[in-house]
Amino acid sequence: MAGYALKRLMTEYRELTLHPPDGILAAPVDEENFFEWECLITGPEDTCFANGVFPARISFPQDYPLSPPKMRFTCDLFHPNIYRDGRVCISILHAPGDDPTGYETSSERWSPVQSVEKILLSVVSMLAEPNDESAANVNAAKMWREDRVKFNQIADNLVRKTLCLPLADS
């Protein structure tokens, strides 16, 4: 089982290296362990996260791609669909069986035809368009709805942090 997972991860790794999608990078953390990846996601243009380069970790199960991987941002990210500890709450990472929120249709769920690239692209669009109906971070969802200026300000500071820039005065 793990052998198949390894082969599949290797293929995806090659694909991502040879044809990197715009604004996305992913690779195993080290050559010893192909089940733990580091990835970088650029905040989409024309959003409050634009130009931010957000690092995250993806952990793959031994029976990948039957089960979905887990993804966690390793930087601070204030976003309605990201838990405070960085875990990403997105339908593509959930197996068809379990639905923690009840808002997802099974077509958006994890299945073996999905891939790291598709996950990362979904996360990019999630950054652009938060889904405040299935909130992982209630405060962020509330601020997103009610005080967009402040939300953008927080997001801007997070972007600056990922770019090694000093924080802007609020």
Binding site: L18, L25, P28, L40, P55, C164, P166
Partner: protein, 388 residues
């Protein structure tokens, strides 16, 4: 180098040669010493065989071994009266051959505290009394031993060597639990003409032994003190302190609160300190203050922190330099003195090269793309905000 530093509290020597004079003498003696040393290595092997063949209770053994160890440069002398009825001796610990010196005068066993192979232990004449199974086991087996075996036990309750000039380490209490009657003895070591320390802090036993073989001769004097008996109501600890005090008085030194664990710790610290000094002297530009190497997992984070204060330098270059120095401070210094170059066009060109087929190349490509991606977004972000 002074022999008293705060690290050693004067209990341990830091330099083999207490005076410049000794140093000169040893240098002059070196050629002769080397010849003697080589001859003694062969003699030592024979002594070893003799010691193994003649068991400890054998009458001839004492004589044979004393002659042979004199040839090896180890002379044991004794003063005071040994008490043949006592089963446990306690002595201070000043060199790695202490037990051998006592053994030459009065055959005895030293409970092995090291985890060494059985064959080696047998050869050296140590007894395995189950130290590794804990103190309780040691005391139990030691009690059994002194009842059943002819050979008395020698205990070195300091458990670590000192220079024997300032103070005794705190005695461990197990010998005092084993027997109520104990004969303390003091060990003094002297080396005529060559006043070389028998041991220094952080030295290993084989280094000490080589010095024994190299120098013309070392005299270890064992002085037997009157046998001490634990009083009816006396506690183990106070008996222990009384014996320690007797030894300290005889040697004219104090009792210290240092335990053998403290001694080991001090040796470790001392070794680290000298190593650090050596590194610092090798590369004068580095500060001698304590430097801790960065955990590889934190290198990205540190690179980004450096970038914040040195924005003109490419992240990729910072990160690569950190890989080499593994130290934030040195990389910052290398940036300041120009070893780490600011952003150059060459870096951007290398980004264009096509990926190879091995995962190894992919990974370095990933690292390169990663930092370039941050660099480019950073530039774009700044551009945008300048326009705003």
């Amino acid at each position: 180098m002074s022999t008293t530093t705060p690290l050693t509290a004067g209990l341990f020597s830091t330099n083999r040669f207490p005076s410049e004079n000794t140093n000169t003498r040893v240098t002059l003696y070196l050629p002769i010493g080397c010849i003697i040393f080589i001859v003694r290595i062969f003699l030592g092997l024979q002594t070893f065989v003799a010691a193994c063949v003649l068991r400890k209770t054998h009458a001839l053994r004492g004589l044979v071994l004393r002659v042979m160890s004199a040839l090896l440069g180890i002379v044991a002398t004794s003063s005071g009266e040994k008490d043949e009825s006592v089963r446990v001796f306690v002595a201070n610990h000043i060199s790695c051959l202490d037990h051998m010196a006592v053994d030459l005068i009065r055959p005895c066993l030293l409970p092995s505290v090291w985890d060494i192979p059985n064959v080696l232990r047998w050869l050296f004449g140590y007894a395995d009394l189950g130290v590794r199974s804990g103190r309780g086991e040691l005391v139990r087996q030691a009690r059994l031993h002194i009842k059943s075996d002819d050979l008395p036990l020698l205990a070195l309750p300091e458990a670590a060597m000192t220079n024997g000039k300032k103070a005794l380490l705190r005695f461990s209490s197990w010998p005092f639990e084993v027997s109520d009657r104990i004969q303390p003895c003091t060990l003094r070591l002297s080396r005529p003409f060559f006043n070389v320390e028998s041991t220094i802090i952080g030295a290993s036993w084989w280094q000490d032994t080589l010095w024994f073989l190299f120098l013309p001769c070392t005299i270890i004097n064992v002085k037997w003190l009157p046998t001490m008996q634990r009083d009816e109501n006396e506690s183990m600890d106070s008996f222990r302190d009384r014996v320690a005090q007797a030894i300290a008085n005889e040697l004219g030194i104090e009792l210290s609160n240092w335990t053998s664990a403290d001694a080991v710790e001090a040796a470790k610290k001392y070794r680290q300190e000298t190593q650090r000094l050596r590194i610092a002297q090798g590369t004068p530009s580095k500060p001698t203050t304590s430097r801790t190497l960065i955990d590889p997992k934190r290198m990205d984070e540190v690179a980004m922190r450096i970038k914040q204060s040195h924005p003109t330098v490419a992240l990729l270059n910072i990160r690569r330099d950190l890989e080499k120095t593994k130290d934030m401070q040195s990389t910052i210094e290398r940036i300041k003195n120009g070893t780490v170059k600011p952003i150059s066009t060459a870096e951007h060109l290398s980004n264009k090269k096509s990926p190879g087929s091995s995962p190894n190349e992919w990974h370095s490509l990933y690292e390169e793309r990663k930092w370039t991606m941050i660099e480019e977004n950073r530039a774009k972000y700044l551009q945008k905000h300048v326009e705003d």
